[in-house]
């Protein structure tokens, strides 16, 4: 029994490996946008993003003076483009550590297709917005006929149950006619 522990530990480590490597991964796409007096460098950690998974991103705000960076706020949302049958999703954004003008955020979209990451910045130098195109991919599609087969499979079980209940009813009737089924009174609970 004890010999199995190292193998189990190794299996656990192997399972954790993708998560560890994903966490260690840096941004894979970096874009710079200009929003009035501010410069925004947006780093994406996945491109394309995937449905149902967090798309992590960093935003580093630059300005000509440090004063313009004080009390800067950032909001963002993933807005579906025309042809993407989805709702807008707001991103969660927080300050990244102590550094002024550095933010990190994430957004989770539920539908594949084209989006734009709409980032709005407000600060002493005014309020402006920038857009960054996003592509959201989906897991491999299953054929529609197969999906319907799975979806309607319980109906088959229900039909079989109904058929069996008919013979059960016949047995109940026999028992009822010989015993105290209480079925003979025409009216009453």
């Amino acid at each position: 029994m004890m010999r199995r522990w190292p193998a189990a530990l190794l299996a656990m480590l192997l399972l954790c490996l993708p998560a560890i490597s994903a966490a260690a991964q840096g941004p894979i796409r970096s874009e710079t946008r200009y929003a009035g007096a501010y410069t925004l460098r947006i780093d994406l950690y996945s491109d394309p993003a995937f449905t149902g998974r967090r798309l992590n991103f960093d935003v580093v705000v630059g300005a000509s003076t440090t004063d313009q960076l004080r009390s800067v706020t950032l909001t963002a949302s993933a807005i579906p483009e025309a042809g993407t049958n989805a709702s807008s999703v707001r991103a969660t954004i927080s300050h990244a550590g102590e550094s002024v003008g550095a933010f990190r955020g994430y957004v989770t979209t539920q539908v594949r297709g084209s989006y734009r990451l709409h980032v709005t910045i407000s600060g002493p130098a005014g309020t402006n917005a920038v857009d960054l195109p996003l592509r959201v991919a989906a897991p491999t599609a299953i054929p529609i006929w197969f999906a319907w087969s799975i979806g309607l499979a319980p109906l088959l079980g229900l039909l079989l149950f109904g058929i069996r209940q008919r013979s059960y009813l016949a047995r109940l009737q026999v028992m009822g006619s010989t015993g105290a089924a209480g079925a003979s009174s025409p009216v009453g609970t």
Partner: protein
């Protein structure tokens, strides 16, 4: 609410050796129905949520309510199956082959809980699959998608299970001489009302299931033939459940009361759901998919009461026929009597739904922003004929379901 004092028969029943077992089952059945009701409230809210806000995440507040209900119902079923199995093997009085069904030769539990457990399991399995489907194909174009159907079929099985669970307690109570009269509400035994409410689940579910047939897909093309669909589905549901109700209780007004309960519940949820969406939507700063704010649709609120009329027809026709003791004829006549008003109502609803509401446009994808065309007269006539035939059959099937519910002790 009028709750009467325990009767003499009740006092006598306290000393019955099976009383503890019956109380446990009754409590579990009531808890099961409560959890299913919670899920139904969540579903009503979720439909409005999808309509007004779309689908931005899996764990939205209505989804949380639905799955709390589903998981709660599932856990209740698992608990009952395990407890009853233990009692069966320990030969506890009242737990034997006459009060349980065997599952895989090992587990023994009341049929209703086994059924409801399978229903909850089906719904739980449908949830991740449905999420995956949405990731692939977007927010709802229609309720009629594979894994919505899977979830709704699971809900149907679960509701049927709850009706079995409560009805079997009513049978036992009747045989014990109490006839469920321990708790009386407006002259109706509490267990009977519970069983009727459990049956309303099936009716409410089919009403939800048939919504797309009123708003977006009024006809089905079956080869060369086009058929109006909503009268068929709605007639099947109303007549089946009404017949089951009146045969299960053999009491005048049972079918009518069942549909009134279904209508009151549905109307309340339909009334409150847009308000809940608006409160959460405004507070959380959501962007609405449609212009304006969520509003109460009074036609949708009052609509469920239209199903009372066919139930009255079933009640009157069946009880009138029953006194002559011709079961098959009684069920067919009552089925037809219920189908006539239901077919007419469903047809009018569908035609009105197409011509005068914006609902169809709301649910269709932007690429096909057209209202469905008015169905041809042939499609309407054929739909009505099929609905009458289905109604007659539903009368027969409902009568058989009602008899099982009236006799089953397992």
């Amino acid at each position: 609410m009028v709750v009467s004092a325990p009767t003499q028969a009740t006092t006598g029943a306290r000393d019955h050796p099976f009383t503890g077992e019956w109380r446990f089952r009754l409590f579990a059945a009531a808890a099961l129905v409560s959890m299913q009701t919670l899920a139904a409230v969540g579903l009503g809210w979720d439909i409005q949520w999808h309509r007004w806000l779309g689908r931005d995440a899996f764990l939205t507040p209505p989804h949380l309510i639905i799955y709390t209900g589903v998981i709660g119902a599932g856990l209740i079923c698992i608990t009952v199956v395990l407890v009853e199995t233990g009692r069966y093997w320990r030969r506890v009085p009242g737990v034997d082959r006459t009060s349980t069904v065997s599952l895989l030769g090992v587990f023994h539990a009341p049929l209703g809980f086994v059924l409801a457990g399978f229903g909850a399991l089906t719904m739980a399995l449908a949830a991740p699959l449905d999420n995956y489907w949405h990731q692939l194909y977007g927010v709802d174009v229609t309720l009629w998608s594979p894994f919505h159907m899977m979830g709704l079929i699971g809900a149907g099985i679960a509701y049927l299970g709850a009706a079995y669970a409560l009805a079997s307690e009513l049978v036992r109570s009747r045989r014990d001489g109490r006839a469920g009269r321990r708790v009386m509400i407006f002259g109706w035994p509490g267990i009977a009302l519970g069983a009727l409410f459990a049956l309303t689940g099936l009716l409410r579910l089919v009403r939800v299931l048939m919504e797309p047939s009123i708003e977006t897909f009024p006809t089905w093309q079956l080869g060369p033939v086009e058929v109006l669909t909503s009268p068929i589905g709605l007639t099947l549901a109303v007549v089946l459940t009404s017949m089951a109700a009146v045969v299960m209780l053999r009491k005048p007004g049972a079918a009518t009361l069942m549909t009134v309960m279904a209508a009151l519940f549905t109307a309340t949820v339909t009334l409150l759901a847009p308000i809940a969406v608006r409160i959460v939507g405004d507070a959380s700063g959501y962007t609405y998919r449609l212009p304006g704010h969520p509003q109460i649709n009074w036609i949708q609120v009052l609509l469920p009461f239209a199903y009372v009329l066919p139930a009255i027809a079933v009640d009157v026709a069946y009880l009138a026929e029953l006194r002559r003791w011709r079961r098959v004829r009684a069920s067919l006549v009552a089925g037809l009597a219920g189908s006539l008003p239901m077919t007419a109502i469903a047809t009018i609803l569908t035609l009105d739904g197409i011509s005068s509401t914006e609902a169809a446009l709301r649910m269709l994808p932007a690429s096909s922003n057209d209202l469905p065309p008015q169905p041809a007269f042939r499609a309407i006539a054929l739909g009505a004929l099929v609905a009458l035939a289905v109604g007659a059959y539903a009368g027969r099937a409902g009568e058989q379901l009602g008899r099982i519910l009236r006799l089953n002790t397992r």
